[in-house]
Symmetry: none
């Protein structure tokens, strides 16, 4: 897709698009099972498949396993290979940290160094979250900062935390200190461009102080830094596609990703029924609704076939008919990527896609499943095409050329 | 497709490729009907599908609805997002105006201005063609031109006409005067580059004169200009692909589009039998035959399901067996874009493609229809890939690399 091609054709109207994302939905047949989506009893999704069309979309490119950040950018119509989301930014979004454009966010690991200064455990024995919180608190209390610099250190979980410095003219063009290995010392920070030298100096002082503050700790006696990232707001979905977009999501990271592309992140929903109440209450205020379900991915990561299957059935029983009550012009059901339960991890397998709407060209599909998606009418496409097709089906794209 | 990749592999030989385009062929199931191509009785096309292969090709990109110009460029193997065809050029092609490289063509609307100079009707009440011809004649008789400039003003239909100026060093880098709205005055022409200033001055004088010449008209008392376009001949299909190409088409616009890529536009055919007579007479003179049928699109635009279906049946009965008599090495049947009858307009749905030839890899298709194309062996591809595949199947492409 030519950059800017879609943007020049945008028609602003009130037609409604709903994007229902079951995180990590895609799976593979394994362990005597069909894929969870295939085995699940999903009469509502199957009816949508029969009336609509299916396809299999690659989040990034064939063979590439995406993280949550790039996968969601592609879902939202943003090229994830151009719009790089740093790990620091993603971690900050994940804990609902409210980043500003003056911030540089860094993902840190608490780690263990031996007396010679070599890393012996990159995860400091995976401390409990309470221990992580104690360590963060201890550092925050003792750290001394230069004038004009603010410092935040927030627990993610176990050995993971987010470090943020805030000030004028900071730069994220800095190489990691995490050596990604044991038996070697942490790396020195490297400025990747000349304007990063001041930020390197500020963070270098912070690292040196932390090393002293934590010197009496048995396990977590040092930190490793990686994924330095500034907060660069992307052109919004409103600016690019004329969509008034909102996010209905439980988890902070997905609300953060949505905010990154200018969506309004509505308050987290409490349960699936609540997600539909929110959708219904906000129906007249937006034209694009991103509804995110996390547990399909979580159960995939846990290797729990049965639970993943059941949560899909629950979505089919509650969320899907709830959305249908609102009669959106276009309804898309998909995942951000596949999370095969047998792999307990994200994978590269294309994501099953269902699209339903009056101008959608129907195919022969009778059921929503990976195997039906393989012969679906949408074919196999890069995920970044999802939004343009949805815009077209919602009457939001003018003709190209005379 | 890497630009220039195909061109470096060209083998010139006498094998024959026929590209049969049913304009706006693609459709969607709607109103209790399958798509017209699906419902039509097309035994000859179905036999070709059974012996050949199918696919669904996106004229521009998924979700993008193309105009006729870009859609045909893609069919001919030209990237329509790079090779922009202006509306003035397309209008000139459409009336069979013989453009030269000294020309700038502009699409004009006759319009109505109120006494304050604001547009009240962008189409001057859609005058009959005879009225349009009278207005053009009146302007041509009275207009005064600078030395070295020729002026043409030709009726398209209703309120539409084509204005052409011819001379040395003219430029089409000029912004439209059509405000695309009523209640406001026409816009001033804007030079979009410094070398356009002379052309702006010449056209500005023409506009001022037209305003005086038409001042006694009740409705059509002004003109609006848009889509300024110079005639830039593209590298020909002979130069790029080694094809001696000809066009067999009823309508001037498609003959013009063919000429733009260096095809010989044979005289318009009178009926389908005549199109086959021309094909047969010219068989030894060319290696590529573009045969264009307009009415599939026209009936789609009219919202006439039955007529669209019947014209497809007639093509199947007359043109298809006529082509088969000539035994081309590769026969392609497709549309330039979809024109769903329920939408009465071009659409973004991919175009059904049928390819037949001895080296075409057969698929499981048993019938030529949109729904069979969705699971066809060619898959879903950008239309610009059509010519390279056809060239390969005709033995016209050498191996890439050792």
């Amino acid at each position: 897709m030519q950059p800017g091609l879609v943007e020049q054709l945008i028609i602003r109207n009130d037609s409604k698009i709903v994007l229902l994302v079951m995180d990590g939905l895609g799976d593979i047949p394994a362990g005597g099972h069909q894929a969870p989506l295939e085995e699940a009893a999903t009469p509502n999704l199957d009816q949508l498949a029969e009336d609509g069309t299916l396809g299999q979309f690659d989040p990034i490119a064939p063979g590439i396993t995406p993280g949550s950040g790039p996968a969601h950018l592609a879902l939202f119509g943003y090229d994830p290979t151009v719009n790089d989301i740093g790990r620091g930014l993603l971690s900050a979004l994940g804990i609902d940290f409210d980043l500003t454009e003056k911030d540089v966010a860094v993902r840190i690991n608490f780690c263990t160094l031996d007396p010679d200064g070599n890393v012996t455990d990159r995860r400091a024995g995976r401390p409990p979250d309470s221990e992580n919180r104690r360590l963060c608190q201890k550092i925050r209390e003792k750290i001394v900062l230069p004038d004009g610099i603010e410092f935040f250190l927030e627990t993610e979980s176990q050995h993971r935390a987010v470090l943020v410095i805030r000030g004028d003219n900071l730069s994220d063009q800095i190489g990691d200190t995490d050596p990604q290995n044991v038996g070697v010392p942490p790396l020195d920070q490297k400025p990747l461009s000349p304007e990063a030298e001041r930020s390197v100096a500020i963070l270098g002082s912070i690292i040196d102080q932390v090393s002293i503050i934590l010197s009496d700790e048995k396990q977590a006696n040092m930190i490793l830094l990686r994924g330095y990232s500034g907060f660069r707001r992307l052109p919004s979905m409103e600016e690019r596609f004329g969509l008034k977009a909102c996010a209905i999501a439980e988890y902070p990271m997905y609300r953060g990703l949505a905010k990154l592309v200018g969506m309004t992140a509505l308050p987290p929903y409490k349960d699936f029924d609540d997600s539909i109440s929110i959708l219904s209450r906000q129906w007249n205020n937006y034209t694009f609704f991103f509804l995110h379900v996390k547990k399909t991915d979580s159960y995939g990561e846990d290797g729990n076939f049965e639970a993943k299957k059941q949560i899909i059935e629950k979505v089919d029983k509650t969320i899907v008919p709830g959305i249908q009550t609102m009669a959106p012009d276009v309804l898309i059901v998909t995942g951000d990527h596949s999370t095969p339960w047998i792999m307990k991890a994200h994978s590269w397998h294309p994501s099953p896609v269902l699209m339903h709407g009056i101008l959608v060209r129907k195919d022969r599909s009778e059921k929503f499943s990976e195997i039906e998606c393989q012969s679906g009418g949408l074919g196999r496409l890069p995920m970044i095409n999802l939004i343009p097709i949805a815009l077209a089906c919602a009457g939001k794209l003018a003709k190209f050329g005379a």
